[in-house]
Symmetry: C2
Subunit: 214 residues, 2 copies
DNA sequence: GGCGCTTCATGACATTCGTCATCAATGCCG
DNA sequence: CGGCATTGATGACGAATGTCATGAAGCGCC
């Protein structure tokens, strides 16, 4: 499932990259494109969060390029673990549909690059170099979205309850799962819905998910 | 935003392919990988549904490889239009997270290939050849899911109303947008929820979306 | 201790929602 | 023409939900 790509490590120092994406098509294609760059070497690939961690431990890459959506553990979770285990390894996130909240989570986790999949491979290579050199890069559009979205106005409990409400369960079910009384749950949901200018808890849950607040 | 790739049309007949995917990174990478195949020529690329249609009209490809999720019009919608406008053009869908209902919709639209993005580029090339030769290919796992999920038990109107309910809007809002009375909307939603074994319309909407029935 | 804040709970009330029975208009088909 | 299914509507009733006022318990802090 994983294999190194490239002609081998030349005398000069190349950027050693780990690629993690559950979509084989994209991962393979990306590896091929990056292999065109003389100063970049893809040393490992992974198709899931846990696998990405294992590969990183084994190959100690300079930069880990992580997809946000992966089975097992998402890109941000992997980045958090990597930060603790391999402080020398820079991390960056690549995502299809980036939500503002994810960006904030990612930056908190020490991620140094955050790019949508709409960029070109050329651009991605440049960003990998930037990140490797200790710089940071955040897609301007995503950054603007994050700024305009602002901080999550929800308290911890509100977010918690809202998360449980996300799948459309009735109040009784939510109260059971949260070990709270139904009245309390309704209060939290009501307050959350007010803060999010939503008509009801379902719309509130949707908004919170869109913003990446849950 | 779009450009043909390849060394040019040689004397022999190569499969002329249109690539449509809104993620530039993937589209470009895919084009590069497919260019390795001697018998495949990527003649056009598109980043949205409408653009895919325009490119198809202009370049008349043999096979259109369409991403399911695209702005403007999704892959299946594009396939439907192509079937009418360019009957000689075979269509296939590539998708990240394939839901059972999408497969059925796609097959109904005359799509001849349905593959997840977890396949390798090699495999994709083979499937493109298969489709070009008049064959069909459906990912076995997706097919199994589709069969186990069964037919959408919803009537057209039920699905329509459920779709409008998907964002958590209150009944009044749904009724307004559907130009129906509130009572009627509630009847449809109630019936849909019953059929889907859901506690309420929100859960029903979630289930229908998961199954690809909306 | 007194103060303020958060968390959690209760009860009351109006509104919305889910469910059901019923019915009218339309269109298809034998 | 006479059934018959589909679509859309109405009204009623109970349950679920949103909203608000109120208060108790826990906790940090001066």
């Amino acid at each position: 499932m994983t294999h190194p790509i490239g002609t081998g490590e030349a005398g000069e120092a190349r950027v050693r990259v780990l690629l993690a994406d559950d979509e084989h098509l994209i991962r393979g294609a990306l590896a091929a494109l990056l292999s065109y760059e003389d100063d970049i070497l893809v040393v490992a690939e992974a198709a899931s969060g846990p696998e990405a961690l294992a590969m990183a431990r084994a190959h100690r890459p300079d930069v880990a390029v992580l997809d946000l959506e992966m089975p097992g553990a998402d890109g941000v979770a992997v980045a958090t673990s990597l930060r603790a285990e391999l402080p020398g390894c820079r991390t960056m996130i690549v995502t299809g549909h980036g939500r503002p909240g994810h960006l904030k989570r990612a930056l908190t986790a020490g991620v140094r690059g955050f790019v949508p999949k709409t960029v070109s491979a050329q651009r991605l290579a440049e960003i990998i170099r930037t990140v490797h050199a200790g710089g940071r890069y955040v897609d301007p559009e995503l950054a603007a979205d994050a700024i305009s979205a602002g901080d999550p106005p929800l308290t911890v409990r509100e977010a918690e309850v809202l998360d449980l409400a996300a799948d459309g369960a009735p109040i009784a079910e939510i109260a059971r799962r949260a070990a709270l009384s139904q009245g309390t749950v309704r209060n939290y949901l009501s307050s959350a819905a007010t803060k999010l200018s939503a008509e009801n808890r379902h719309e509130a849950a949707r908004i919170a998910r869109e913003r990446g607040w849950v």
